[in-house]
Amino acid sequence: MKRIRIKKQLNRSHTGNFLVLLMLVVVGCFMGLPLYYNIIQSFKPVEERFIFPPRFYVVNPTGANYSQLFTLVSDLTVPFSRYLFNSVFVSIVSTGIGVMIGAMAAYPFAKKKFPGKNMLWRLIMLTLLFSGGVTALPAYIVKAKLGLINTYWVLILPSLASTLHMFLLRQFMLQIPDSLLDAAKLDGANDFRIFYNVVLPNVKPAFMTVVVLSFQNVWNNGSAGVIFREDLKLLPTALSQITAGGIARSGASAAAAVLLMIPPIVAFVLNQSKMLQTMAHSGIKD
């Protein structure tokens, strides 16, 4: 059967179209406002930053907060580029390996049968219910006993097995028709080929979304509590150290918050065409 695209716009009036757009603009404003406020805050001079009720505009925009941040950064014992490298390195490595491990684990949970599958799945899902604080102390002890404290590993390893990402990917893999996998198997593809050439392309938008989500997560996590060596600290931790100085440095802190948003934006821009595209068609006709 040939796929027929609906060319004709489904009968909707102009007023309807306008209302939809209006609604989206309003919601978009609500969505964008906190972000806008973050940015505007970093351009306010001190006397405007603490006005209550707060203003959503700047009277005298200033770059002083940024220049203060740069002065503070250039006075550091460890060069700024080192923190930047740490953060970029850790984020890219743990996102790259982590999402792949998650996708690999998701595949058999979605499409295969193996002994102990259901029990293992339930066990893993149960741990979604625990918030991070609960396991903080035992997790630290485990990390210390494995000798991970003050190494890159303590930043990378814990983020490799993310239950949430695995769960999301599995839900999307469930929707791939079995017959597609059977066809690949009949053509002589082994399990890894099926995973890499059939399953992954079919869940690409979800996969890319998880990549961006994971990057953002790792990037913002910081290294407080597990890294005590100055030259291994991550950018958010380093910047929060620098800007922790009360009101005097609150401008620099606002500027730092805005600058830290840039890498997640880059990650998003690089992936957005794949994330936002419509789901790949299953390629199967029943």
Binding site: N38, I51, V134, L137, P138, A161, D178, A257, M261
Partner: protein
Amino acid sequence: MKRNKRIKIITPNDTAGWMFVLPFVIGFIFLFAKPVAQSLMYSFNNVTVGQEGLVFEPIGWENFKTMLTGDAKFIKALWAMVKEAAVKILVIMFISMFLAILLNEKFAGRLLFRAIMFLPVIFAADQVLSVFNALGGREELQDTTSSFFMMSGEASGFVEEIIGSFGPLSSVIEKFTGYATQLFNLLWSAGIQIILFIIGLQTIPAYLYEVAEMEGATKWETFWKITFPLLTPSILLCLIYTIIDYFNASTNSIVVMIDEYMLGNFDYACAMSWGYSVAIFVIVVIVNAFLSRRVISMD
């Protein structure tokens, strides 16, 4: 939709599955399961810091007894939270489904609006909102919103005057504006759900809509007969995700309470978080049992 007699080539006992799961499971056991199990062990002990590290003194169910009977704070906070969560989670679900349906339509500027809805995924919602919420405590967020709408601080008194002029209705309106100020937080916690719904919508085959159009179904009918039923798997997925996400948010009152106890009374905090997790588990199980029978699948 699918032929019933499909040849099963994937055999029931496929150990290759284990190969794929193994890396995840190893990481999971060492860095997640072990700490979780240990925290359960801690909650049955009186944990103190001695010279040789942690000292354990078994006390049985003592911590749990205190939590359920002695400490009125926990049960009270939990109940308040469940009530609040029920409303908020429903609102999040409704907003995200509605927005996803809008964003799935074809219109000019769709990509831009999709990108805007991705904001909570691109940025850490907690951090972006913390600057915003720190404007002067959460109670005063309402002033912030009204000042935003009037674009100036001085005018917020004006808003209150208007609200006051409605007389007996004013408390209703106040409540409503109170909910409106929560919109920022609710919208920012709906990011993933919108994506889940959009992807769910896109798995609905286009030919079903073609058939519906041929048969002369209205948009309204099409929604209730095709879109909604086939979206039920996504609804269940989103609902469970939202519940877990909501209850485990680091700004959540009970999570904050547990974190506070963590510093002084560690074993009690562990017991509390286990009690909390069990409560979330029960909620998820109930929701799942109630809804999974109503989920309609394409097969």
